[in-house]
Symmetry: C2
């Protein structure tokens, strides 16, 4: 085992740092940091849209970069993200106009002059009032609301009304009003308009990711993730729905534990950014239908029976306190709209963040998670389906599986020797989804794994196999297994084996996604080869090696690799947009109404397609 | 002492029964039942507007009634309320168009075709949906809201969203949606549209009065009253403001006790009408500024210091549960708008219910309570002021004072003998405000009480005084007192005396109202004699003998008695209108903005006018 090392790349203005392998393209590093860059040419260096300033650590400019930039610009660090290889620790500045999903692009549909931050759902206004005196004895509420110069009546919630007289006088009638639409959330002494915080959260079945954003500057101040503790009640959505249905306190338990976990993430974000909890005025959430129901403690049981009916439809705005969050007492919460069935707010967020609805050519969006979401856009129409991949890609149900965190084998390459990359450059503790895909692809390539999914044992192995691979084929519980790391190499002194059971789990997960893609393309009347782009989303999708994903059939092998593009965590990105812009929310609502929800289970071809999709492709290197 | 007896008069459709003395005019009996009849001619039998059907018990028709009704109509019971004397227990039907403040009149300003009940703030709609099936898998929320055919997005609160899936299925997708504006309050199985309940409450400083109304039929189903338990923290508004300010839990205690008391009234109303608490979807409240602040637990301390600034301005809609009421969990609460300073929602309600803003001639509205509210309308303008009468009219601070409930001496007449009327025809327990005024007026007339307010003792009494009066002049604690009932006549074996202290309290209360009227008329540029009408409001105002109120100077002596008209509890009537009609609320908001609030305390003439007003008029029988 040879471990490869990573370099740190820090992005501005978001401030996020990611670790990538030496030689990674800037475009991929940016995607890992949640920044998806414009790339209409498919990363060919032809359009010049994916501009960024690289401070240091990049390989010399390519000929296409010389075409797009003057010598002065190159000297200033201007580069094309699709061309630039990162060789050493770098700092990178990404201008807003290079970002896909940047409001500048998404929102132009609704209003050409709109730019993110012009219409945040929560806004702050500096207000100066004349203090009361003889002849100016208006009620406090009238004094404040008339100073706001609002177009319609401002609503002051009771909780704030109770504090208003003291607040106004402490501030000597000069301070900052915080408004969500026409609802007054707070009146703060002094001028606090320079920042306004929101937390956007991707509520995944397995993983929760929250980002603290300043909606005034657009800056992402901190990001934090942890496992969804609901997993202890069942690792997929169906088992949680059943738990909620069959246990008297089940729904409440599921809700409370996920709220507590996100609330803990909020605490981490606040600590990291030096922000107080009561400075957070907005929470936005994006999750699949089940996750959004459970977050609200809304019984999702009718999602589990034909015809799979959710309760939630359009986006929901409510009080953050109603859900149990400890942020500003008047803070608002927004949940992305649900498309239908299991296709929920995370899919809407993905379509919003990638600008998929505007795609001019047939495009596929795949968000690979415990619930896989698949969207096809063609001819101005959108189809979406959900497919139960299970949590294998997130490390669950795999014997030595783990999430993509420190100690996870996240990359496996055979180039004469077996090389692995471990997150954090430590001794490996387990295997995450991308490493699992890599390993299976390499075993398929070298004949240690049959397309049927059978791991071959000693006598069945092909001839001329390199000894380094042969010696790794071991036996566990009477079945063949492949040793990725020996007991001497691991953190816990136990070898990390890829077992026959692990391969079966991978087949189920891969088959579910692949069958979903096949059926949805069929519904859209498309052949895989007609797809001009495949957008890979999900916290996990970013870390997949495209060729390996194609080798095991997770992605259509017929697509040129350059057309497969990483989009980062689009669920989180969409939730962040919903915190930044009311128009983004309106676009999201429109998307939810516009997309045709396809219930794959009603497709007569579902079972046969799923069975066929479980078989790995014979060979498909492109 | 001779007690007079009362007869029961039951009104339809309200169903309310009141007890009045034999010979009472139907108009006054109706006012006691909260029904204020049209009387543009001032009760002269000239306009024919105050029509009603009297079932039995009335004196024969007067000549003016013969002019207005045919023989058939008279045979059917049609009468004029201003002409008809009630001699025996009666049942009376009052058509809506005879009522002042009937929405038909009030609302025509805003929209000629509007009639009460056309635009209730809470409405019910019978909804039938197709149940979910393959091909019809919309989310529950979408299925319901699209069936509502709403003009804008329907908002489903989280609490209801959680119950929605079960509710829809229990009802087999056919039931009644309850809506407040675009907010869904409930979905009930079956058709419940035949009734929809609201409770309107007059939150008085001393007395709370609640009425259960059916906003579909307009019927008043029950009325209940009790003392405001906040009185134990102080019997006027200022002492309560100080208590709330100076005690850490003071505001919370004041709020909780008044909410508990009103909630208990709601329980009584429900029991009486056979209505469940969760059938009540609306609460409306009308009170003076302080009462409305305390009901909401909003600190009113800046009301007590110059320039007397309230927190509340426009009407407030909020969740009834937020205030702590046990009605339907999604029920809404509405508080009438505040005009300014101490002039609050009860005054707005009074102007709304009496139609005062439309008065064509100079008109005075006086709501006599612990806080007296005075409104003048002239030349299309409205001025309003509040004056601290104190609770003497409601029986507090009077040695044997009590509220106008069973056992109270409510009427005192001297016609050769001293006659008293006791509410409920029982032995007297004490003296209520109307009895206090009567007694003081009779003592003034017969010279037992000097205009200065001094009760005369034996040697100072005028000559030729009837022996029945002379023997009642007794001495208590070295000061003269007047015995209304001897120890043999009372319920508790203690005599009921009118003391010198009681007279001083009456002078303070009367002087406050009288000074307020004088100053407000001055502000409006009017002489008392220019007033074409004086509208007497307040639960108490109904029971005042006009001539006696004029004798003690509580009402301007210069006004012809027929121009003084009883309006009933206009605060409650306004709150009831706000429960019936959104347009009534809009008119209320408009009134609150339109009325000029006059801060009497800033008037340089305030102190001298108040001092002068404490002296009883020398003589003024009209």
């Amino acid at each position: 085992m040879i471990q490869e090392s990573e370099i740190a790349v820090k992005f501005h203005p978001s401030g996020r740092t990611v670790f990538v392998l030496v030689g990674t393209k800037l475009y991929e590093a940016a995607a890992a940091a949640g920044l998806v860059l414009e790339q209409p040419c498919g990363g060919q260096g032809l359009c010049g849209k994916c501009r960024a300033i690289v401070r240091h650590g990049a390989a010399p400019p390519t000929p296409s970069e010389h075409r797009f930039f003057s010598a002065e610009e190159l000297a200033a660090g201007w580069r094309l993200a699709c061309q630039t290889q990162l060789l050493q620790p770098s700092e990178v500045e990404v201008p807003g106009e290079s970002l896909v999903g940047h409001a500048h692009k998404i929102l132009t549909q609704a209003s050409p002059q709109a730019v993110a931050g012009d219409d945040p759902p929560v806004r702050k206004l500096l207000v100066e009032m004349a203090p009361p005196r003889r002849g100016s004895d208006e009620p406090d509420v009238v004094r404040l609301t008339s100073a706001l110069d609002a177009q319609s009546d401002v609503y002051v919630p009771l909780g704030l009304m109770r504090e208003l007289p003291a607040r106004l006088r402490q501030a000597s009638f000069c301070g900052t009003a915080v408004l969500a639409g026409e609802r007054l959330l707070d009146f703060q002494p002094g001028d606090t308009t320079a920042s306004c915080y929101a937390v956007a959260t991707d509520v995944g079945t397995t993983t929760l990711v929250s980002a603290l954003v300043d909606t005034v500057t657009g800056e992402e101040r901190a990001v934090a993730a942890q496992l969804n503790p609901q997993a202890r009640y069942g690792d997929d959505v169906l088992s949680r729905i059943v738990f909620a249905r069959d246990n008297p306190r089940g729904l409440a338990e599921l809700q409370q534990c996920v709220v507590a976990a996100i609330d803990q993430l909020i605490g981490q974000l606040c600590a990291e950014a030096g922000v107080r909890r009561d400075e957070i005025f907005q929470l936005t959430f994006s999750g699949n239908t089940t996750m959004q129901h459970l977050l609200c403690a809304i019984d999702p049981q009718y999602l589990a029976v034909v015809p799979f009916v959710p309760v939630l439809g359009p986006g929901v705005e409510l009080a953050a306190a109603e859900l149990g969050f400890d942020v500003h007492p008047q803070a608002r919460a927004y949940l992305m709209p649900v498309i239908g069935g299991f296709v929920g707010g995370d899919t809407v967020a993905g379509i919003l963040a990638t600008g998929l609805a505007d795609a001019q050519q047939p495009t596929l969006l795949v968000d690979i998670g415990t619930n896989g979401e698949i969207v096809v856009c063609a001819g101005g129409k959108l189809w979406a389906a959900s497919t139960a991949a299970g949590p294998a890609f997130e490390g669950a149900r795999i014997s030595r599986g783990m999430r993509g965190s420190i100690g996870a084998i996240e990359k496996v390459v055979y180039d004469g020797q077996l090389r692995i990359n471990v997150i954090g450059n430590v001794r490996p503790k387990g295997l995450c989804g991308s490493g699992l895909i890599d390993a299976a692809a390499e075993l398929l390539r070298h004949g240690l794994l049959a397309p049927s999914g059978k791991l071959l044992s000693g006598t069945q192995l092909p001839a001329h196999l390199p000894p380094d691979l042969v010696r790794r084929v071991v036996e566990q519980d009477g079945q063949p297994a492949f040793m990725l790391a020996s007991e001497e190499e691991t953190a816990d002194g136990q070898p990390i084996l890829l077992t026959q059971q692990d391969i079966r789990q991978l087949q189920l997960a891969t088959g579910a996604i692949r069958a979903g893609v096949t059926l949805l393309l069929h519904r859209a009347g498309l052949q895989p080869s007609q797809l001009q782009a495949v957008l890979l989303a999900g916290g996990f999708g970013n870390f997949i090696r495209r060729s390996n994903a194609q080798r095991i059939g997770l992605l259509p092998p017929q697509i040129e690799r350059r057309r497969i593009r990483y989009q980062g965590n689009t669920s989180l990105a969409g939730a962040r947009l919903a915190a930044m812009s009311l128009q983004a929310r309106q676009v999201a609502e429109q998307i939810a109404r516009q997309v045709e929800h396809v219930d794959l289970s009603t497709d007569p071809a579902f079972h046969s397609t799923f069975a066929a999709s479980m078989i790995f492709p014979e060979s498909c290197e492109s």
